[in-house]
């Protein structure tokens, strides 16, 4: 009797409600992935998470190209913040749809021919342009490994996949200055410890002129908008490719960037950093 009811729950709900009721009945989805909660899950103890957090922090500081270390730092330190983010998404109607349907942004799920046929200024076209110009793909994101809750793992994964779209929305390139600006926005929006750490330590690697730019206009704009914008994780981007960027910004309560970085930085060398 006990097993039948959770089975029914499992079938009809994929939300955290379903998960919650499974826990109440003491049945978890352990049988599916032999003790793990999702395919890429690695169960870890608190001690291991602590060592991972410290180790990955040091490794990421020494070598910022190790984006997998930044990812691990985010996962091991972000548990409380992820809960808050998930609750924010649940309270938003579009966000709860995302939590229900669990869309993933991957090259296989994007309709590239359709998107490149869209007019300039739309989200889809600008996103593709961003991917092409910076020679990146959404498939190189590291999978979430150390979050011990299936739904929170999805929220973390969504956060990573939305990062590129955030670059497009804010009009920031993937050089150091652009990444720091996006980091400041994300820190103000999400409050993830990894973002706050990145936002605090990122400017240390900037040149003086760029630091001035950050301090005077760009940084304040990023922080201000991060605070007042709607939760960017709650936007169902996959259904909004035809929407224009201006309209989307207006809806999200984000101002235009004060300085257009793309034109000025196009000529200088740009390295791609993933955070």
């Amino acid at each position: 009797m006990m097993r039948g009811l959770p089975g029914a729950f499992l079938g009809s709900f994929k939300t955290s409600y379903g998960y919650l009721s499974q826990r109440l009945y003491g049945v978890l989805t352990e049988e599916k992935y032999d003790g793990r909660l999702y395919p890429s899950h690695i169960p870890t103890s608190t001690v291991q998470k602590a060592i991972l957090a410290v180790g990955s922090g040091v490794a990421a500081l020494k070598n910022p190209y190790r984006h997998d270390m930044v990812a691990v730092l985010g996962e091991t330190t972000g548990h409380q913040t992820l809960i808050k983010l998930r609750d924010r998404m649940r309270n938003d109607p579009e966000g709860s749809t995302i939590l229900l349907e669990r869309p993933r942004i991957r090259l296989s799920t994007l309709d590239l021919s359709n998107m490149s046929a869209l007019p300039d200024g739309t989200l889809g076209r600008e996103y593709l342009r961003f991917l092409e110009e910076n020679r990146v793909t959404p498939d190189t994101r590291a999978e979430v490994k150390f979050v011990d809750n299936e739904e929170l793992a999805y929220v973390m994964q969504r956060y990573r996949e939305v990062h590129d779209l955030l670059h497009t929305l804010l009009g920031m390139p993937t050089n150091m200055l652009g990444e720091v600006a996006v980091k400041w926005f994300e820190a103000a929006q999400t409050g993830l410890p990894m973002c706050i750490l990145g936002a605090a330590l990122g400017p240390l690697r900037l040149s003086v002129s760029r630091l001035q730019l950050l301090g005077q206009s760009l940084g304040l704009w990023a922080l201000r908008n991060g605070g007042r914008a709607r939760c960017v994780l709650s936007i169902y981007y996959e259904r909004r490719w035809e929407q224009t960027l201006d309209e989307l910004r207006h809806e999200l309560n984000i101002e235009e960037p004060p300085v257009s970085l793309i034109a000025s930085i196009k000529n200088s060398s740009s390295k791609s950093y993933y955070f």
């Binding site: 291991q48 180790g55 691990v72």
Partner: protein, 327 residues
């Protein structure tokens, strides 16, 4: 009960040239051990449902070699760094102890199986060279006042140089060999070293070729350990020595608990932070637990035909050096 006796009788019949006295004396001990060995080796000897262990998982036998290959392919570049980090540098002492126990004389041939990045071979060459230098110095000291004729004679005979010790590094994984070759180049070692890609279960060498055979931290990754031991027996010259350096069972219970906690908590974390690979290092610590203990492995070596098999526990049993002779 039938299986142990059958195996025992076969062994006696096949080794008729061996010292029967020795066998008869140890008959009772063998009967007890044999049951344990057959039970533990059942998974690799049985003809039906061939599956074996890959860490704590169970996989079909054919898959294990491939999975192990992938593990070492991904860890090859950071292998040496990780060894130092995981063992806090103690692995260097273990390998030095192996060489001291081996005490090779100059001019011998070594086969370093699962040699990978070449640690044992480099140490072997260095050891024999310094031993040769020391022998030369002792020889020079003992000749107090040589005549001019003797000195001239020395100059002529020294043209052929020291007897060349040769080491062959054999590994199944080409990535590990690549890393090893690079290390040899960086260290400036040009002569006396060769790199061969080969399987420990099926060595690409003729019979009776080598004076020494070593396998350091490699035999637990082999799918059929008995086959590797038989191959070792085959390629060794009569009088040759087999040496195996491998993780083993810790006898002290307190140390065992600390060791287990360290292995399962720290090592995969170190693997993730330094090499970006949790799963390979999880496999590593699990495969250590699956390897037979000192006594059982000693029995397995004796089964392959080696004599005077003994083992030395290092660091409280964390690592053991097994040694045997082909006579």
């Amino acid at each position: 009960m039938a299986a142990p006796i059958r195996a025992f009788v076969l062994r006696v019949l096949s080794d008729s040239t061996r010292n029967i006295h020795h066998v008869l004396r140890c008959r009772s001990k063998y009967l007890c051990r044999r049951a344990a060995i057959t039970a533990r080796r059942g998974y690799s000897d049985s003809t039906e449902g061939r599956s074996t262990h890959f860490g704590f998982q169970t996989v079909p036998e054919e898959e294990k070699a491939e999975k192990v290959y992938k593990v070492f392919e991904s860890v090859a570049k950071k292998y040496d760094v990780m060894n130092d980090a995981m063992s806090l540098g103690i692995h260097r002492l273990w390998k030095d102890t192996l060489l001291h126990i081996m005490n090779p004389q100059p001019g011998l041939r070594l086969l370093d199986t699962a040699g990978g990045t070449g640690d044992i071979s480099f140490r072997f060459l260095e050891y024999t060279r310094s031993m040769y230098d020391r022998q030369q110095r002792l020889r020079a000291k003992s000749q107090q006042t040589p005549s001019w004729k003797d000195i001239a004679g020395h100059y002529v005979s020294d043209e052929e140089g020291p007897p060349q010790s040769r080491a062959v590094v054999c590994d199944i994984n080409k990535e590990m060999l690549k890393v090893g070759k690079q290390r040899a180049e960086d260290a400036g070692i040009t002569t006396g070293l060769s790199w061969v890609a080969g399987d420990a279960e099926e060595l690409p060498f003729d019979d009776d070729q080598f004076d020494m055979y070593t396998i350091a931290f490699g035999i637990r990754n082999v799918t059929h350990i008995e086959q590797a031991l038989q191959e070792a027996f085959r390629v060794l010259k009569p009088g040759g020595r087999f040496m195996c350096l491998e993780f083993s069972k810790v006898t002290n219970p307190l140390l065992a608990r600390l060791y287990d906690a360290y292995s399962f908590q720290m090592i995969p974390v170190l693997g993730e932070v330094i090499a970006g690979d949790w799963k390979s290092y999880q496999y590593l610590v699990e495969s250590i637990r699956k390897f037979p203990d000192q006594e059982i492995f000693k029995e397995m070596i004796e089964d392959a035909g080696f004599f005077r098999v003994q083992y030395f526990n290092l660091t409280g049993g964390i690592v053991a050096i097994h040694s045997g002779f082909k006579l």
